[in-house]
């Protein structure tokens, strides 16, 4: 009798457990998307980030853990360009928009017709010479949609707005000079009536900036540099950085050798996020120039960090530097995911950022305070982040010395993870991070600044990290600060991730496998081999027929795939700034391509 009663109590307690008030107190609620990103699903995918919080999550669930195994090709489309396809296919209403790498052709496909025929194409005809000052293949990270327009950047540093219905050019603004090594590759973000864009060219001694254009006219509204005097950086009385090392006058000048800030990098070529409640725009800044750190003693503000700015004026609100006096090309332009989560019992508005440094940063996005920095990659070059000062601790043994080869530096120059964005599932509360597992040898050599040519000063060769594989796809528990599961991949992961309410997460590999995995277990539920390696960003949408579709561009390239897209010679281990050494077998596995694949259930 007693035994039965005990069993009953146990059974009851098991049933009641999820609702138990005691349990609710001990386990904080899982991280959640902020209200501005948790709006009802409209079935579209209008900006590469999906929403202002950059969660890259869709509430569609027709494709789920049960049905995904039946996915099949719905239609394909050739972009006509065999270079690295990093762009995200967008869907607005019944039209899909696909942007090719240089020459940056925008295609509109009619989803209401069988086979999604082309509605129109728009060719901005960028200068061919721009190809000579693009560091890492001829990529573009996507167009964006706002106010009835598709807005995108071109390799020769123009921003274009095109009528989304007709394909007619509305305006085209030149923002950079290729003779100074300035190019553009990023996806713009539209905030209110402003198009926010930044410049690329951190390997060419470009002085980085971010700029807002009027979406109606294309005219510049504000421009903020990331090096130089406070006035140029838009640092004024409202700038309140959390850490003392970011306080002081004209740090963008004084933390550099004389005039070095003028070729100091700090470019903006990655991801932007926006919090409409705080009215703050978040952007990262790229590596300082040149790579060789011995040329630029000092903290090299405001490179390799994160800015929060007022999108109306460009005024800086706070800054956090992930890599002061960056040693290893650790740009800080990776995705900035805005979430609400409980931290030490208090609700915090946070910014989550898997950095090139190898740390997953959780930062209070109101103040810039670092709440947590946990490693997600094998580390030898850094030992940790001091949460009191916010400062990263470099391992002095791995610091570059001129004309000496320093070995076994992990992570590498492209970082623990490069530009390819993670996804956050609103449902599981987990972050899905496509990243790398590599180490490198590095020799600093004296660079020579010649405008319009590279300004690097380092000989590098990369190779696989511990375990021998180079890519990892990890599900990350933000609250616990650790991986839940990881899928190892032979080649580095250079594709973005997509999370869906069907508990299926998508990503692609450089061999050309497009994979759907279980969001909770990491089990590969479905995979399909496309024509070329994948370095693009998967997106999903509800078609005019009411069915859910998943889209991805194939076409290997980018820094990681330059060996294939640029026909590089693997006998030189320093080719593509040392990346070729790691991926020397890629030519035996995949070829160039440029194809859109769209999948659906039968």
């Amino acid at each position: 009798m007693g035994g039965v009663r005990l069993a009953l109590v146990l059974a009851l307690s098991l049933i009641l457990q999820p609702a138990s008030p005691i349990l609710a107190q001990s386990t904080p609620p899982q991280p959640a998307a902020p209200s501005f990103a948790a709006t009802p699903e409209d079935g579209q995918w209008t900006i590469p980030q999906k929403n202002y919080a950059s969660t890259r999550y869709s509430d569609l669930s027709e494709i789920n853990t049960e049905t995904v195994k039946n996915l099949q090709v719905a239609f394909t489309f050739s972009t006509g360009v065999n270079k690295g396809q990093e762009s995200a296919p967008l869907v607005v209403g019944g039209t899909m928009y696909v942007l090719s790498p240089y020459p940056n052709i925008l295609y509109a496909l009619d989803l209401t017709q069988p086979g999604a025929p082309m509605k129109w194409q728009y060719n901005p005809k960028p200068a061919a010479a721009a190809q000579g000052v693009a560091c890492c293949d001829l990529v573009n990270r996507g167009p964006t949609f706002a106010n009835g327009r598709i807005v995108f950047t071109t390799l020769d540093a123009h921003v274009v707005a095109v009528n989304a219905e007709t394909g007619e050019e509305v305006w085209k603004t030149k923002l950079g000079d290729i003779n100074r090594g300035e190019t553009m590759t990023m996806a713009p973000l539209v905030v209110k009536d402003k198009v926010i864009v930044g410049i690329s060219g951190g390997e060419y001694g470009v002085r980085g900036w971010i700029q807002a254009l009027d979406i109606n006219s294309g005219q510049s509204v504000w421009k903020a540099y990331n090096t130089g005097p406070d006035q140029d950086v838009k640092i004024g009385p409202t700038f309140k950085p959390f850490y003392d090392s970011d306080k002081g006058k004209d740090l963008g000048v004084t933390t550099w050798p004389a005039d070095a800030w003028q070729q100091g990098g700090g470019t903006v070529w990655g991801w932007l996020s926006y919090d409409p409640d705080l009215n703050l725009l978040y952007h990262g800044t790229g590596n300082p120039g040149p790579w060789n750190p011995n040329q630029r003693p000092g903290d090299n503000k405001w490179t390799a960090g994160i800015f929060a700015r007022d999108p109306d004026t460009g005024e800086a609100r706070w800054f956090y530097q992930t890599a002061p006096h960056d040693l290893h090309d650790w740009d800080n332009i990776n995705e900035l995911i805005l979430l609400d989560m409980e931290w030490d019992g208090k609700p915090r508005k946070v910014l989550v950022h898997p950095g090139r440094t190898g740390f997953l940063y959780i930062i209070d996005r109101t103040t810039g305070e670092v709440l947590s920095a946990k490693p997600f990659h094998a580390l030898t070059a850094v030992t940790g982040v001091d949460l009191k000062t916010g400062r990263i601790a470099y391992n002095s043994e791995k610091e570059p010395v001129n004309n000496r080869v320093v070995r076994d530096i992990c992570p590498t120059a492209p970082g623990a993870k490069d530009w390819n964005p993670s996804a956050f599932s609103h449902k599981t509360g987990l972050l899905y991070i496509p990243h790398m597992n590599m180490c490198m040898d590095w020799e600093s050599v004296e660079p020579n600044y010649i405008a319009g040519t590279p300004y690097v000063g380092a000989e590098v060769r990369m190779y696989p990290g511990p375990g021998g594989h180079m890519g990892e796809f990890s599900a990350w528990d933000l609250q616990a600060g650790k991986e839940l599961w990881t899928i190892n991949e032979r080649f580095p992961l250079w594709s973005g991730a997509l999370a869906t309410a069907g508990d299926v997460v998508f990503y692609g590999t450089m061999e050309g496998w497009f994979k759907a995995v279980h969001a909770r277990t990491g089990e590969v539920l479905w995979q399909f081999k496309v024509d070329s390696g994948i370095i693009g960003q998967p997106t999903t949408y509800r078609g005019p027929d009411g069915k859910q579709y998943v889209a991805i561009l194939s076409g290997v390239g980018g820094w990681a795939g330059a060996i294939v897209s640029g026909d590089l010679d693997p006998r030189d281990s320093s080719a593509a700034k040392g990346f070729v050494n790691a991926v020397r077998d890629l030519k035996n596995v995949t070829t160039k391509g440029g194809t859109l694949y769209v999948f659906k259930l039968p």
Binding site: G80, V81, N82, K83, Y102, P103, I105, Q121, N123, A128, A129, A130, Q131, G132, V133, A134, C135, C136, D137, L138, E203, N403, V405, D441, E443, V445, P447, N448, I450, G452, T453, P454, Y455, V456, E459, R461, A562, G566, D567, L568, D569, P570, R571, D572, S573, S574, A575, A576, K577, V580
Partner: protein
Amino acid sequence: MRTVLILSLAAVVLAACEREDRDYRSNPVTAETNEKIALVPLSAGPGGPTEQRSGLGKDYEENAYHISQGQRLYTWFNCNGCHANGGGDSGPALMDDRWIYGGQIENIVQTIREGRPNGMPSFRGKIPDDQIWQIAAYIRSMGRNVPKPAAPSRKDDMSPGPAEQRRPPGEVIDGGQIPPSAQMPQ
């Protein structure tokens, strides 16, 4: 007898110097050699294109001094920034056998001087003419299209692979790659 020995030794030594005979005064930046070359093997009418090569190229690419000067200048003028140590980066590989704009030293000189449409900048007026020839001679050594004894041995910096001297003799296939702009739709 002893005098004869000294004289004959001196003759041998001086004869050895002959191989390295060179001008120490550079051409002014504005001076330009004018080789008459074609970019293609095809011409209107039989017999192939009309070309006139002065033979200056041989003086550079068969000379170890010029090649090693070229190796130094290759880094100084940031050639390595785009072409790495011959394997390529944003610019094409230079150690392989494919030459979009011709792989003879005269073609390479012209490519450096004039630039090329898909990203190669023009260095006219930026690099003295004889130094362009030296750089071109070094580039010819990357695919070992120069005599083995003249090609560089292992350099002091991080070794990117076997030194030029240790590479097997190469060949040159002209026009081996379609430049990306030629693939442009529309």
